[in-house]
Symmetry: D2
Subunit: 133 residues, 4 copies
């Protein structure tokens, strides 16, 4: 992940714990991709009618993770309130989406894998919220 190296060369280093920050950026990127891929796999399943809520929550979660990852990546003139609000929204989306994916985990391996991504991302968001104080 090149962004880890780039952030370390930033002219105004963050005062946040770098590992906590980078873990959040990394998990947002992983979860955004997982949710895009899971929604897409759902759409090709014969039981797509049963997966409507999963698709819906995955597309929302992918959008929020993408945006939150971008905001957490930016270090210049960072505003803690904006970062916090975005990371909170991301933790909420990951929790709700992870719960829904888990309901389908026994039948669809992509849902099981996506639920795990959502859990890791939610945890990484909560760790960053704790670090933000």
């Amino acid at each position: 992940m090149t962004v880890r190296e780039i952030i370390q060369t930033h002219p105004q280093p963050t005062s946040l714990d770098l590992e906590v920050l980078i873990r959040c950026i990394d998990e947002c990127s992983d979860c955004a991709a997982s949710c895009t891929s899971c929604a897409d796999a759902d759409l090709a399943e014969p039981d797509v009618q049963d997966l409507v809520r999963c698709i819906r929550l995955c597309v929302d979660c992918s959008d929020i993770c993408t945006t939150t990852g971008r905001i957490a990546t930016r270090q210049t003139a960072a505003d803690a309130g904006v970062l916090r609000a975005s990371v909170e929204a991301c933790a909420t989306a990951c929790r709700v989406c992870g719960d829904e994916c888990e309901r389908h985990a026994a039948h669809h391996e992509h849902c099981r894998l996506c639920a795990e991504s959502c859990r890791r991302c939610e945890e990484a968001c909560r760790a960053l919220l704790a670090a933000l104080g």
Copy 2:
């Protein structure tokens, strides 16, 4: 705005006040574009050094408005908690970005216009939050 017409043909009509919802979607779209355009105009100003915080907040605000507008647009299997968290993050971003743009309003017309977009979007988000209960 075609999205207003499309939402009215949705097979599962929203229980939210449609005008409040559509105003939020519309203002998120307007504010996302304003912030992208203001950040870009800032970047071409001779005093770009003084506009660094404005650029930073505008790119964050544009990302959050884009994502929030998408989530508010989707009506299928909507989750009120995810919508609320995203709209709250959007109201925060619009408030902080609007404050910063206002500081430059006397010198840069694009900042004055963008601050107005941010104010309208923040208000539309708060009205939707009130409707969400």
Copy 3:
């Protein structure tokens, strides 16, 4: 649309025909929202199985329209090659998505409306490509 006013205050005015440029930005914004809303309405239809290709193309088209609208909005240090490639991708996505939505226009009013958005956006992209030379 505030972005029209903001672009007119840009310190480095575009050499492109402003009406052609703004029409493209405006239609990209409209089409991105229409496609997000149409994909979402499709997902709630009883015949969702028949709308899988429509959903797929709408989510792609929404993503490309969002990105193309942002790139066309930015005037600072614009690169004609990057703009052209993005607008070409957008015209292609709008054509393919418009064709698919049209196939469902008789049964779903949201598809009819979305097809019209796609046609207008494709036209606006082609006009901008012509202006780019």
Copy 4:
């Protein structure tokens, strides 16, 4: 990268070379994050005036990489023409942005790292275009 595992469980496996496809998805994700981070680091540099074109091209490149990565990730009812147009736009953006970042590589380590990300992503896009035929 969970998306690799999820794509392998997709009910309609791609006919494309999976390694070529996944490399493109992976590099789009890496390059999107690098460009967001490089634009942000540029903004904090004392010589920001000299980095205006770099910032501009990085934000465009990040947007196109994000969208292209999403479209390449989706396998359901894929349209080769839409995928090709998006990947072509991405290769163009990466080439132009990589050239600009390289100009600053001797002075700014983040530009050197970002240029490398752009080069890898451009190559991965060209390999996918070759596979698409």
